[in-house]
Symmetry: C2
Subunit: 237 residues, 2 copies
Amino acid sequence: MAGKTPVAIVFDTFGSVVDWRGSLIAELTAFGKQRGIAADWTALVDAWRAAYHPSMDRVRKGEAPWTKLDDLHRASLDQLVAKFGIQGLSEADLVHINLGWHRLNPWPDSVPGLTRLKRRYIIGPLSNGNVALLTKMAKHAGLPWDMVFGSDLFGHYKPDPETYLGVAKLLDVEPGQVMMAAAHNGDLANARRCGLMTAFFPRPNEYGPHRKRNDAAEQDWDVVARDIEDLATQLGA
Amino acid sequence: MAGKTPVAIVFDTFGSVVDWRGSLIAELTAFGKQRGIAADWTALVDAWRAAYHPSMDRVRKGEAPWTKLDDLHRASLDQLVAKFGIQGLSEADLVHINLGWHRLNPWPDSVPGLTRLKRRYIIGPLSNGNVALLTKMAKHAGLPWDMVFGSDLFGHYKPDPETYLGVAKLLDVEPGQVMMAAAHNGDLANARRCGLMTAFFPRPNEYGPHRKRNDAAEQDWDVVARDIEDLATQLGA
C-alpha cells in the first residue's frame, strides 16, 4: 500500500474475524447430542443468521426502538425454536444458546494478524454486536482489541453513518484516518461513503456450502489482502 | 477476599494507574530545556490538575454543555499559560503539551497487575478521560484493557451515577458484578452508592510532596490492597 496509513483499523467481526457459522453449528450439535435433543442445528443456525439483517432493519427504519443485538438474537431464536418444533429447551437453555454468539471462534489468521497490527495501529471491532457480546467474544477468542466499538455505543446499526463516523469522533481523528476492514464489500462501500479507508479480505467459508458474493473485491479498496495476516504485512506491521 | 467475585474490574486512571504528575513534570521540564523556554513547570502541572475538578463540575452542574476532557484540559492550559506568563509557545506547542495527558506513564505494578487480572476478569478504565485520551494512553503505557470506558461514552463525568451504572449496562451485568478499583476513597464511596464492589490501593506519591488524603482506606472496601499486583493476588489472578 502506497501513501497514507490509518491511525486506527476497525474490523467487521461476524464472518470477517470470527467463524460464526462453524462455531455455532459445532456448539449446538454437541449440545443437542449431550442433551438428547434432536434438531437440524445446521439449518437452525443458517435461519438464525438469515433473520439478522431483517431484525436490525426494523430498528434502523424506526419500526422498533433501539434494541441491542443480544435481544434481537433472542427474539429470532424464540421464533425459530417454535418454527423448527424443537422440544425440551428450558429458559436457561435458551439463554445459553443465545450467548453462543459470545463464544465464536476466530479464523486461524485472526489472532496472529491482529496481534501484529496492534503494535502499530489502534484496533477494534466495529460490529453490530453490542459491547457485552463483543467484549466477551474477545475474551473467549483472544482478540487483542484496544477498544470495542459496539453498536450500542452509537445507538445505531451499520450501515447507518453514525457507526462509521462515530469511531472517528470517539478517537478524535478524521474519518480518513480510520480504515474499515471486512470480508464484505457492502460494509466497505458504506464505510467509503463516510470517508473511511478500506481493506478487503475474503472469507470464502463464511457460509459453508452456501456460496455467496464477497469472494473477491468489488471496488478498488485501499488494501486487498488474502487474510488478516496478509493485511498486517501490507500495512507494515 | 471471601465470597463473591466480580465479572469486571474498572479502574480510576489518573493517579491510580498512571503517574500523571511525575509524567507531566518530566515531559514539560525536558520540553522547556530543549526549547529554551523558562517556566516553573512543576507549579504549572499542579495548577493544571487543580483546575480539573472545577472544570468538570461546570459541566456536571449544567453550566457548560458536554465537553470532553481533552478540551477542558486545553482551556485550563490556555488560562494557566497566560497566568504564568509563559512566552514563546506556538499553537502546535500547546497541542503537543495538552496531549501530554495521552502519554502518562504507569506505576511500576500497573502493567504486571493488570496483565494478571485480565486473564480472569474483564478490565477497563472508568475514567473522566475521553476515549481518545484513554486509548492512546493505553497504547503509550501498555495498559492491556479489554474495553475503554471513557466519560464521553456516557456524556457524564464521575461521580455522576450514569458513569458507574453505565459500565454495568454496557457489559449487561448487575452493578454488583462490577468492581471499582481506585486510589481515591471518594471515587469508591460514589461507586458503592451505585451498588458496585470496591477495591482500594494507595498511591502515596500521586501528589509528590503535597500530601493529601487517600493514604489509607476510609471505609471497609471489599478489597484493600497494597497495589495492583497485590489486588491481582487477592482476587486469585
